[in-house]
């Protein structure tokens, strides 16, 4: 069995399972946020049980529109907070919070071998830890909050093998954008993407989170990495409960195996309006921009800010650009402060915000006007995703985003000069 199949089998009490099989899975963690929790709570109440199955396994994170952007979103956040406090759930107020998918691994709430479901499509991020994690809607989450279980169809696994040495400035973001560009936005629909190869074993945890995060952008149910020393080092100081490490069998059945030589992959940019609409940076041409966003559950971690800082150090953000930098969590924010990154960003002419999803989904803190273009380290560039339906979002890694902020057009970090 594959890694994903082994985790699912262990959580449904079966020795062996195969793709297509319907199973009832016990979950280790159930997540929702200030947008999806209100519907989940409403549906939970309809089921008629009084208490969630285990308050230590139900997490609610206000992150999309908080600190509340308007009265309506304040009402939603309030409803969630009251429910979370009354049920004694795992809950983080704004001073302690972060974007859910940055926060949960940091807090040790997700561990290898777990099954996690969340009312947020980017729940698949936790696959970086060797967990099986997938996004669902609010009603599914309500059911799991009540029963601790959820039905699932066992997905087939597609194996991706990345080999070779990464070029300079190429990160997990570029590998996943390249992959989505190759297989398309429905290239892995219903499947689990297993990321393997020597290039992956050298990849940082932050880059792995980025890749697993965007598995959904290929339609996947989950993205998953096997656990190695990197993972164990990350988990060691955070885990407060035991966990289990699973491995794909040598003779695992994959629905497909796709191989990439990463030494041929340049930094990538996804043009509007699909994450699969990718081009290598050398083929981008002249695209003037109005805004840069560096942050989100995709690229809002410390390594991302360090890369941006390397490009922005001693340089100035272009006059025509709003450069918005958002650490993904309090921990990332504090580390960025200690390392002097926040000062560097502000001196370069960027704004640095408290952790929030904010502009990633066109919520607040950087909404685009008609005709405006943004280079963003986020994960989606659909029509209207960051504001006006006439605006444009270009997805890229933090180095490209920072270089673009300096030059006022989409540019690679090599173009800003020494």
């Amino acid at each position: 069995m594959t890694l994903a199949e082994k985790i699912l089998a262990a959580h449904c009490g079966k020795k062996k399972i195969s793709p297509g099989e319907l199973i009832n899975v016990k979950v280790d963690l159930v997540l929702s946020n200030d947008i999806t929790a209100p519907i989940a709570i409403k549906e939970f109440r309809r089921i008629g049980v009084k208490k969630v199955f285990d308050p230590k396994k139900v997490v609610m994170v206000p992150d999309h529109f908080v600190p509340n952007k308007d009265i309506a979103s304040a009402e939603q956040a309030k409803m969630m907070k009251e429910f979370a406090l009354q049920q004694k759930l795992v809950y983080f107020e704004v001073g302690e919070m972060g974007i859910e998918h940055v926060l949960l691994p940091e807090k040790g709430l997700v561990l290898p071998g777990d099954v996690v479901i969340g009312a947020d499509s980017h729940t698949c991020t936790y696959g970086a830890l060797g967990a099986f994690a997938t996004g669902m809607g609010s009603t599914d989450i309500a059911t799991a909050m009540a029963t601790g279980e959820i039905w699932m169809k066992v997905p087939p696994t597609i194996k991706f093998v990345y080999s070779g040495k990464l070029r300079k400035w190429v990160s997990g973001k570029d590998l996943i954008l390249y992959t989505i560009g190759d297989i398309g936005v429905d290239g892995a629909t219903y499947a689990c993407m297993e990321f393997t190869g020597d290039a992956i074993s050298r990849l940082s945890m932050d880059s792995r989170f980025t890749m697993a995060n965007m598995a959904i952008e290929a339609g996947a149910k989950a993205g998953i990495f096997s656990v190695d020393q990197n993972t164990l080092d990350y988990v060691k100081s955070r885990a407060k409960r035991p966990y289990k490490v699973y491995e794909s069998d040598k003779n695992s059945q994959y629905s497909k195996v796709i191989e990439y030589d990463v030494s041929k992959i340049e930094p990538q940019v996804a043009f509007p309006h699909k994450p699969s609409n990718t081009r290598p940076i050398s083929k981008v041409g002249k695209v003037e921009i109005d805004q840069v966003v560096i942050g989100s559950c995709t690229n809002g971690r410390l390594e991302d800010l360090q890369i941006a800082a390397r490009v922005l150090r001693g340089r100035k953000v272009n006059k025509r650009v709003r450069c918005i930098i958002i650490p993904g969590s309090r921990e990332v924010y504090l580390q960025a402060l200690r390392k002097g990154l926040v000062k560097l960003f502000i001196e370069a002419g960027a704004v640095v915000s408290t952790p929030t999803c904010g502009p990633c989904l066109g919520g607040y803190m950087g909404v685009l006007a008609a005709g405006e273009r943004c280079v963003s380290t986020t994960n989606r560039n659909f029509v209207g995703r960051m504001g006006s339906p006439q605006s444009e979002v270009y997805l890229a890694n933090p180095a490209i985003a920072a270089a673009s902020a300096v030059l006022g057009r989409i540019a690679g970090p090599e173009e800003v000069g020494r």
Partner: protein
């Protein structure tokens, strides 16, 4: 159960951000969400749509965000059913969970145009294009999906399951 309505036709990869843009997700009441359904893809959608109408779309309908607000919004706007070549998996679950009928049928999508009248028989999966006099067979629902649909959605199904388990021991 038979559904009948006029067709609104869209292409591949219709994502949940255009079905209901995130800027309107500060509320979750279906009727309020419906006011902005499909707005970024088809600004005239609300003016055109009549109760019972059917969305016909290409592959990967409902991709992107997990927001259940998407099926809720189009259902509350009056859409009775979505026929597509294929659905993104979270949207598929959400639609079944909240009781929005969805059917997969490539041929029906290829041979149907905006403004046609469709009649969909949910019990048999038969899709009739009344305007063109054509009949298609949708992919049948897996048995478990039928159980969910017949129970009236996931919440009702869960309630029944919990009631059946009572006496044995309800897991809490």
């Amino acid at each position: 159960m038979k559904l009948r309505g006029k067709v609104h036709n869209y292409g591949d990869d219709v994502n949940t951000d255009v079905i209901i843009p995130a800027r309107y997700l500060n509320v979750y009441d279906p009727a309020e969400l419906a006011q902005h359904a499909m707005e970024d893809l088809d600004p005239d959608f609300l003016k055109k749509v009549k109760p019972g109408d059917i969305i016909v779309a290409g592959a990967n309908f409902g991709c992107g965000s997990s927001r259940e607000h998407a099926p809720l919004a189009i259902k509350a706007a009056g859409i009775s059913c979505v026929v597509a070549k294929s659905f993104a998996r979270i949207f598929y679950r959400n639609a079944i969970d909240i009781g929005l009928p969805i059917l997969e049928c490539e041929e029906a999508v290829d041979k149907t145009r905006a403004g046609d009248t469709l009649e969909v028989d949910l019990s048999t999966g038969e899709i009739k294009n009344i305007t063109r006099g054509l009949t298609f067979e949708a992919k049948p629902y897996p048995n478990f999906m039928l159980e969910l649909i017949n129970a009236g959605g996931l919440i009702e199904y869960t309630k029944r399951k919990l009631a059946a388990n009572r006496g044995i021991k309800v897991r809490r």
